[in-house]
């Protein structure tokens, strides 16, 4: 195995090589560094890299641990001790994390090496990574298009073989949608399955950390490492963690899959629709029974989300005030001036919009009409899923109604951008788990653009959706496709 080919490996394949001592962890870090130096100038997936720290850890890697010696990229909204954690915002300029997030501690305990911080929409608010105040990230399949978001850096890095796997965070689809648009696997765990301690909070009742990987098996490997109860997160669920890898298998006999009729709407790109229909047939041919189901409150999900998520964000982002960390306005005349100008200069437009909207829906006189009503409709959405899961084991839909769009195409119209999250948002509101896996390509302007299939599962039923995703993946070739940029060799 020569260095140029290493970055294309899955975590599982890299693990075998490391354990057979055919490659050293330090060689793996070097290969990634070369790959990143060669292509990240065009791709823009990473915000920061600490090669020296990674090398030190590689030197003492214990390759017999579950993820021993394997570098994992981290979305730059998750604290890694000693590293920046910018949230792609100017307001965290200069901040260095004084602690590890629980997920990072758990990755380290499994032997993994946190490697590089990936770009995102500022504070994870967006669906294209265009809201990053620091950098533009491009889609590896067509550099004129967005990678999706908000975990766009993580998805682009994994798709372009700049990372073996990555962590993202998903508040309304921020792992699954960029995974779909970049042609990789992305899992949003059940709310409470994975600790949020050390994940910078956007919307606390919706946020979850999860893996972005090249294969379903790799997602299961990372879940084995990061899932579980954490005393530092009061919403963490104290439930046993199954072995997600051991549960993978090819047989779908007896599995009942639901196709929600409300998810097959007119706005779906015809090529996306065709790919999803073909995937449903494929799952059926693998033994799964396909059942039509209804989620009647679907049409309200985006509206509910943009009230609840912004309300929670307005409270969470109050901590960025120029006092304890990050950017601070110069020469404030009093404390209100300090707050007002620090937040004016530190936050980008989307973050300001959401804080203002969230402050408004929580304000006296409007709380009942907006926030309280949204919370009640959220409960109806949760009940929709609960009754669907009485009939089926998992639900199938497109992850995104469209493939990757052009940079700048939707940036001026926030509402249109929000509506693109229609298939992913409800899972966060209901607290259930979901995964996006590659299921085909659309041909557009001479480029092949990935299409994602979403599977939604019952609370704490990650093992089941991983199993269904694995059976589908193993019967198709989509996950083996690599974008053109990944084939460009590092400069000698």
């Amino acid at each position: 195995m020569i260095g140029n080919e290493l970055p294309a490996l899955s975590i599982a394949d890299l693990q075998s090589l490391l354990r057979r001592r055919e490659v050293l962890s330090s060689e793996v870090i070097n290969a990634l560094r070369e790959r990143i130096e060669a292509i990240d100038g065009d791709l823009g997936a990473y915000l920061s890299l600490d090669i020296e720290a990674a090398m030190e850890e590689a030197e003492r890697a214990k390759v017999d641990l579950p993820l021993g010696g394997i570098p994992i990229a981290i979305k730059d909204i998750i604290n890694v001790m000693g590293q920046p954690c910018t949230c792609a915002s100017k307001i965290l300029n200069g901040y260095r994390a004084p602690y590890d997030a629980t997920v990072v501690q758990k990755l380290r305990a499994a032997g993994a090496i946190p490697f590089g911080k990936t770009n995102l929409d500022e504070f994870a608010m967006g669906s294209s990574t265009e809201n990053s105040a620091l950098k533009s990230t491009r889609n590896p399949w067509d550099l004129s298009r967005v990678p999706g978001g908000s975990s766009g850096g993580s998805a682009a890095a994994v798709a372009a073989d700049e990372a073996f796997g990555a962590l993202g965070s998903d508040t309304g689809g921020s792992i699954r949608q960029p995974a779909a648009l970049c042609g990789v696997v992305g899992l949003k765990p059940t709310y409470g399955r994975v600790s949020r301690f050390g994940l910078v909070a956007f919307a606390s009742s919706l946020d979850q950390v999860g893996p972005v990987t090249k294969t379903v098996r790799d997602a299961a490997l990372i879940m084995n490492a990061i899932a579980g109860h954490d005393l530092q997160d009061s919403t963490s669920l104290n439930e046993p963690v199954p072995d997600y890898v051991a549960n993978l298998g090819n047989d779908l006999r007896g599995v009942r899959l639901g196709v929600p009729k409300e998810y097959m709407i007119d706005g779906i790109d015809p090529q996306v629709r065709a790919a999803i229909n073909a995937a449903v047939k494929q799952l059926n041919s693998l033994g799964a029974e396909i059942i039509k189901v209804s989620l009647p409150s679907t049409d309200y999900a985006v509206a509910v989300y943009y009230i609840i998520a912004t309300a929670e964000a307005s409270a969470n982002l109050a901590r960025f005030d120029g006092v304890r960390y990050g950017y601070r306005a110069e020469n404030p005349k009093d404390v209100l001036d300090l707050y007002g100008r620090t937040r004016e200069g530190g936050f980008g437009p989307e973050v300001k919009r959401r804080i203002i909207l969230g402050t408004y829906v929580l304000s006296s006189g409007y709380y009942d009409a907006y926030y309280l009503r949204a919370q009640k409709v959220r409960e109806l959405i949760r009940r929709d899923f609960a009754s669907a899961f009485e009939k089926v084991d998992a639900l199938i839909s497109p992850t995104s109604p469209v493939v990757a769009f052009k940079l700048g195409e939707r940036a001026a119209d926030p509402l249109q951008m929000y509506l693109a999250d229609i298939f992913t948002i409800a899972a966060n509101l209901a607290g259930i788990c979901g995964i996006s896996i590659p299921c085909g390509f659309a041909d557009l302007d001479g480029h092949r653009l990935p299409i994602g299939l979403q599977l939604l599962g019952r609370p704490l039923d990650e093992a089941r959706i991983l199993q269904i995703a694995y059976a589908y993946e193993q019967s198709t070739e989509w996950h083996k496709a690599r974008p053109p940029i990944a084939s460009s060799l590092p400069k000698a």
Binding site: A303, V323, R324, D337, R343, E344, R378, G431
Partner: protein, 96 residues
Amino acid sequence: MAGNSDLDVAYVARLARINLTVEEAKIFQKQLDEVLNYVEKLCQVDVTGVDVAAHGIPVFNVFRADAPHDWFTVEQALSNAPRQANGLFVVPKVVE
């Protein structure tokens, strides 16, 4: 000035401690009016008798053991402070 919703962006931005330029307030007003028009659709939903959901999977009364453990030192807690002195964060004078 408010647009076609009750939202007055300039006023709410002051509540949220974010200074806005007049130009920014104008753009946000238009964009957020559109979002508020969109969320009006929630008025169509019959929510009579529906309890509020705080979390998808409710958890209640979460406690951890009341035991001391190591946490940040003063130096670590202050390591990112834009201004500090004598082991404290420095802010503009609040009390006259």
